[in-house]
């Protein structure tokens, strides 16, 4: 660990923000021109200039620390994926299981923040977020098993290497089924429509974020943006060979395809209720992922 390590870490933080693309694509779908590319960052900067409001009855320390908890976990997981995909590291800091667990921390931070603000609406939003987490975690984990079974490893470098040699996991039957499941559960992980029950502005103000304002809200928004580029990279590494192609253009195109798929799902579906979402994940998507796992065990 030295200066270069932290420098790389810093670069990985900067590289990770692909959020403007989402707003541009959304605008195009809705026949609008859309804001300039820097609009999201300008919004963020504006939030940092506002004052911080803290509710009187809240648990102050938890309320203040929650957004940073999610941010640190996201930055570290982004760093791992960045190093492995762009620098061909043989192995770096953590494997697939570590990553799956690190990805629960952003949701955790949102939930704890909502609880700590001692607002009934925030608590309601947080409890919805937990239920959603329980919902999508099952199909997500089942789907993640498919690349593990096919490649026989839980290290990212070996998963990517295997896909370079034998073709991507996505190109098998089990892989493509699992890919569908993972896309939809990651959609919920990022809290995007149709699975934005936790924030549901029209029902419960904005759920866990109701009491947040100023820089703390900015950090939560930043977390959202980070997730929007880290999770697609994770899906890419597990199912589509990561940045393993010799042609960097194709790699970037693959990455952008996944990002655009998320935006398309977001823009073409209405919000589900939390019980509908649970039923969808447990009784529909999990069945698909289970079939994928069984096929993968059978070698298909």
């Amino acid at each position: 660990m030295n200066f270069y390590f932290f420098r790389d870490f810093f670069f990985s933080c900067v590289w990770e923000v692909f959020y403007p693309l989402d707003r541009k694509v959304t605008a195009r779908i809705q026949y609008r021109v859309g804001p300039p590319w820097y609009q999201s960052f300008a919004d963020l900067l504006k939030l940092f200039g506002k004052e911080t409001l803290i509710p009187k009855n809240s648990s102050v320390t938890m309320f203040m620390l929650a957004p940073f908890l999610g941010m640190s976990a996201l930055l570290v997981s982004g760093f791992i994926l960045y190093k492995i995909n762009l620098f061909n590291m043989p192995g770096f800091l953590g494997d697939l299981i570590v990553m799956v667990y690190l990805f629960t921390i952003p949701s955790l931070s949102l939930i704890l923040g909502g609880f700590a603000s001692s607002n009934p609406l925030s608590s309601l939003g947080s409890s919805r977020e937990i239920k959603l987490l329980l919902g999508y975690e099952l199909p997500f984990m089942l789907a993640i098993l498919v690349p593990v079974i096919q490649t026989g490893s839980i290290r990212f470098s070996e998963i990517i290497q295997f896909q370079i040699e034998h073709g991507a996991v996505l190109y098998s039957i089990s892989g493509s089924l699992a890919f569908i499941a993972v896309l939809l559960s990651v959609q919920a992980k990022m809290g995007l429509v149709p699975f934005d029950v936790a924030e549901a502005e029209t029902e419960i103000l904005s759920g866990p974020l109701t009491e947040y304002s100023g820089p703390l809200l900015g950090i939560f928004k930043l977390n959202k943006m980070l997730m929007f580029s880290i999770l697609p990279l994770f899906v890419l590494s597990c199912f589509w060979g990561g940045f393993g192609n010799v042609n960097p253009l194709i790699n970037i195109l693959k990455f952008l395809t996944i990002v655009v798929i998320f935006t398309l799902i977001r823009n073409t579906n209405p919000r589900l209720r939390v019980d509908q979402a649970l039923r969808f994940f447990w009784f529909k998507l999990s069945v698909i992922s289970s079939i994928a796992v069984i096929l993968a065990l059978g070698g298909m």
Binding site: F9, E137, W282
Partner: protein, 613 residues
């Protein structure tokens, strides 16, 4: 029978200190009057500390302990933890109980001495004696200062005692086959007895029953939730959360690895893995809907055993190490959780999640410790629970991806893995409920103006929370290397560098805090915004309402209802069968003289016919 004889002079000094000294001290406490309370406390602490030091010395130096005792890699670290948890329990109970402590301390000392004896021995008969006495000590501890737990303690005694009977059968079978009680002799002669595999299997099942009844895995777990609402918190933290887990899993590991040498291809291995997965998911689903913190924690004490069973069942070195490591981690965070619950209960007189809320401001240390322990038990990196779960998962994944196993076996491993992974998400969910219900959220009538618990109750909790972090960060470089596994096993399958990740997370968090500081944002305290409504106790959201929509979702509802009617409780089922038989017998013994005379007449007639023929 020569090796059973115990020659007093041949007992090693180490055994005298670790096993007999606490028992004798405890016996003295029971005999002498209870008025010398202060002296008893002092003696207890001196004894436990002395025993603890001796345990550490035994662990480091590995002396020869005489013919019936042995120290090796498997029981060394268990030994240290027995002493550690006795010490923590003794410190914690100083302020917890309002009654005289000498009897409680006597039981704790008994438990310490007998469990040392059980762990150190390599003689089946001694193991059996220790196991039996521990059941009695458990019964006494449950009843201490809690008269309401009489029926629950009876249930415990029947389950644990019944499991002892299985242990006797298992040992008897082994003796009849090998004519020996010594672990090493048994295991070396078992390898030549392949043609008795049926009997050996029965014996192994008997050992498993004894081990999982002690550790509390499905289906013999029901005594832990049963005793939890009424018995004292130190007892809960001492026996079901730490000592019983250590001993039960120790016995299981000893049987599987040393004595029976189970093959990973065998049905036992698969059955244990599946049982583990099922225990995780069943117990955690029950924990999710509990309204009482004690009961919720006790269901988690059950569900965590599942991970240990999965790890041991996989019979892969990484999985086994993971299972044993998880056993240690579980004792640490589970004890921490129970004791924190005790702190809350001591100050508010309740553990009902509906009645609590907003305690984080008033009990910051308890809150921090319980938060860390909750994150550990839910497997959030970089805490200790994640480390051991990660190892257990690797053990299973190696088996899952191994194409030399049959499709069915790999399927079972896959199911267990999914149960375990989902189980940890559900664990997180139920602990978030606790966090909200007790510490975060709105204050209730009971919780305003509560003070932090006494020093002797906070220090153990904080110490255990620190241990959670230390074990998580230095899992490989300290715990695995020096405590569990002095001979290194290749851990190269997965990859996890907790220290670097921790530094990076702190670094990233600091970046965020610096950005926050640079923004020079003004801080203002305001009222909650709930759209103009008045914030009163009526609108306070209850943590217990969180998972109603899960409970009412599809088939789950009917399963929950059946579970609450105790249809899956093997004890209740057996009870019903026994009472059914008794009811038939009652018709015969109705206390009316003519009925008995009729029976006598019938008997005489039958005898008559027999003789005449």
């Amino acid at each position: 029978m020569n090796n059973v004889m115990l020659n007093i002079s041949s007992i090693n000094i180490n055994i005298w200190i670790t096993c007999l000294l606490p028992i004798v001290t405890g016996g003295v406490f029971l005999v002498f009057p209870k008025c010398w309370e202060k002296m008893f406390k002092l003696i207890t602490f001196l004894t436990i500390v002395f025993v603890f030091i001796c345990q550490i010395l035994i662990f480091i130096k590995r002396p020869f302990l005489g013919c019936n005792f042995n120290i090796d890699n498997l029981n060394g670290f268990v030994l240290i933890f027995l002493g550690l948890f006795s010490l923590i329990t003794a410190v914690y109970s100083l302020k917890y109980f309002s009654s005289k402590l000498s009897v409680f301390y006597a039981y704790v000392l008994f438990a310490l001495g007998v469990s040392n004896f059980t762990v150190l021995t390599n003689n089946m008969l001694f193991l059996l004696i220790g196991w039996g006495i521990l059941g009695i000590v458990l019964y006494l501890l449950i009843n201490y200062a809690s008269p309401e737990s009489a029926s629950a303690s009876k249930k415990t005694f029947i389950i644990v005692g019944g499991a002892d009977a299985f242990l006797i059968i298992g040992i008897a079978i082994l003796w009849s086959l090998t004519k020996s009680f010594n672990f090493n002799e048994i295991s070396s002669s078992l390898s030549g007895l392949g043609h008795y595999s049926g009997l050996i299997n029965i014996s192994f099942i008997c050992f498993i029953v004894a081990a999982i009844a002690k550790a509390g895995a499905f289906p013999l777990h029901t005594w832990i939730p049963e005793i939890s609402p009424t018995t004292s918190i130190p007892t809960l933290a001492f026996m079901p959360a730490s000592l019983d887990k250590l001993l039960g899993i120790y016995l299981l590991a000893r049987c599987m690895i040393d004595i029976f040498k189970i093959s990973p291809m065998s049905g036992f291995s698969l059955a244990l893995v599946f049982l583990g997965g099922f225990t995780v998911i069943a117990a955690v689903m029950m924990a999710l809907v509990q309204h009482n913190m004690r009961k919720l924690l006790s269901y988690h004490a059950v569900s965590q055993v599942g991970y240990m069973l999965i790890g041991l069942g996989s019979m892969h070195p990484i999985g086994i190490l993971g299972g044993l490591f998880h056993m240690l981690n579980n004792t640490i965070y589970k004890t921490c959780l129970f004791l924190s619950a005790g702190n809350v209960e001591k100050r508010t007189n309740t553990t009902d999640l509906d009645k609590l809320g907003g305690l984080a401001r008033f009990m910051p240390l308890t809150f921090t410790a319980m938060l860390i322990a909750s994150l550990s038990i839910s497997g959030v990196p970089p805490f200790n629970g994640f480390y051991s779960k990660w190892m257990v998962y690797q053990g299973v994944i190696i088996r899952l991806t191994d194409t030399s196993f049959s499709f069915f076996a790999r399927g079972v491993y896959g199911v267990a893995l999914i149960f375990a992974l989902l189980g940890s998400a559900l664990t997180l969910a139920s602990f978030l409920k606790v966090m909200f219900g007790v510490f975060l959220g709105q204050r209730s009538k009971l919780t305003s103006g509560v003070k932090e618990a006494d020093k002797t109750m906070v220090i153990p909790v904080v110490f255990l929370a620190l241990l959670c972090i230390v074990f998580g960060l230095f899992g490989e470089s300290f715990v695995l290397k020096y405590l569990i596994n002095p001979i290194s096993v290749n851990l190269e399958y997965g990859l996890w560098l907790p220290q670097v990740v921790m530094i990076l997370m702190l670094f990233a968090g600091t970046l965020g805090v610096i950005a926050f500081a640079l923004s020079r944002s003004k801080i203002r305290i305001v009222d909650n915004f709930i759209g103009g409504e008045v914030l009163s106790d009526e609108v306070r959201p209850r943590a217990t309402e969180f998972y109603i929509s899960i409970r009412e979702n599809g088939v789950l509802g009917s399963i929950y209802n059946m579970a609450e009617k105790k249809i899956f409780d093997i004890y209740e089922v057996c009870l019903k069968i026994v009472f059914g038989i008794i009811r038939v017998l009652r018709y015969l013994h109705n206390g009316i003289l003519p009925t008995y005379l009729v029976w006598c007449l019938i008997g005489v007639l039958i005898l008559f016919f027999k003789i005449i023929k």
